[in-house]
């Protein structure tokens, strides 16, 4: 009885990390699709966000694989900081995008503006929005995981 319960709980933990991994993989392949297939050049801020999401796809994978049937609990320690820093860049980018921070104050090269909106899915979803969504969902899931399993 108790063992069953423990198993169920660790299943849930694994599932949380698995969902985080799915999000990171979707972000990885999605961003590569935008840049390599559609030819949208990533601006400087996009690169910073990529830097913090790409390793997550690997870290979550390792976290899921190493401990047999349940996830490696320390995965939270290594992934949460990356996700939080990434979210910072995503929010900053969103503010530049929506005009709260003037273009001249942010570090983009002249020929590739970070404020220029070059993609809107379904009319309103922009790339920084997707980025914020991905990072914040990962952070929330990781916080739940940390509270319940660490």
């Amino acid at each position: 009885m108790v063992e069953d319960k423990i198993k169920k709980v660790s299943q849930l933990g694994w599932l949380l990390i698995f969902i985080c991994w799915l999000i990171a993989m979707a972000a990885l392949f999605g961003s590569l699709f935008f840049s390599e297939v559609m030819g949208l050049k990533p601006c400087v801020l996009c690169w910073w966000q990529r830097i913090f999401i790409y390793p997550l796809a690997v870290l979550f994978l390792v976290g899921m694989l190493t401990q047999g049937d349940k996830a490696d609990r320390s995965v939270v320690r290594y992934t949460l900081p990356l996700a939080i820093i990434g979210l910072g860049f995503a929010i900053y980018h969103y503010l530049v995008y929506s005009g709260f921070i003037p273009e001249s104050l942010q570090p983009c090269s002249k020929d590739l503006s970070c404020a220029e909106i070059n993609l809107q899915l379904m009319g309103f979803v922009t790339i920084p929005m997707l980025s914020i969504f991905a990072y914040s969902t990962i952070i929330i899931l990781l916080l739940i995981y940390r509270k319940r399993f660490c």
Binding site: W14, W21, F29, F33, V37, M38, M64, L65, D69
Partner: protein, 216 residues
């Protein structure tokens, strides 16, 4: 163990999905680009554009090029080979798309050399001596100047013609046509108006051969 299978299957799914989506997207783009360039066929070729090969050939390769572009230089012998492989059936039209800094001056030199009927000689010399006049991806026209000996060019006249408004107009018009035809990289190829969407030697060869087969 079951979980590892789920993980591996998911990873494979991501890769497959990516490849399928990419090929679907490229297919759509291919069609859209072909249609767009067919609508803008008047931008493909100008009466002044330098042409090589038989005038009555039914297959025409249009190449937007930048003399400072290494890939353009690498493609040049290949394109000539394509014409030799299909004798009398293929000709080549060159259009200027000077994307590198100062390359607009280099193509103006070509255009001025053309007034002396030395366009192809000058172009080939420039390709051969690329290392001498390109520094860190910036063209140095004054250094190309020193490489033009022995081509039979009247350098004084060349210098004079460089200032001509007609040459500036042609270079500008070529750049505008490239924009109209969505060419943003060099070399940009069209064969009988059809854009080479997936870039590569083989793809170009296939496109040329399919046009030769369709027209002869």
């Amino acid at each position: 163990m079951k979980k590892n299978i789920i993980i591996i299957a998911t990873a494979i799914l991501f890769v497959v999905l990516f490849i399928v989506a990419a090929s679907f997207y490229n297919n759509q783009k291919d069609k859209a680009l072909s249609n767009a360039s067919m609508e803008k066929i008047e931008h493909m070729q100008r009466d002044y554009s330098p042409t090589m090969g038989p005038v009555d050939a039914k297959v025409t390769i249009v190449e937007f090029f930048d003399p400072a572009c290494g890939t353009c230089s690498a493609f040049y012998p290949f394109v000539k080979q394509l014409m030799q492989d299909n004798p009398g059936k293929v000709n080549l039209v060159l259009r200027y798309l000077p994307l590198h800094q100062n390359s607009d001056v280099i193509v103006s030199i070509f255009e001025a050399a053309r007034l002396q009927n030395r366009f192809w000689e000058t172009l080939e010399r420039a390709y051969q001596t690329r290392d001498a006049w390109i520094e860190h991806h910036v063209s140095r026209p004054e250094k190309l100047w020193g490489q033009l000996d022995g081509l039979g060019l009247d350098m004084e006249k060349l210098n004079e013609d460089l200032q001509s408004e007609e040459i500036a107009r042609r270079v500008k018009l070529d750049i505008l046509d490239a924009q109209q035809l969505n060419v943003s990289k060099t070399p940009g190829f069209f064969v009988n108006g059809k854009p080479l969407v997936n870039f590569g030697y083989q793809q170009l060869q296939q496109l040329v051969e399919s046009e030769v087969a369709a027209n002869y």
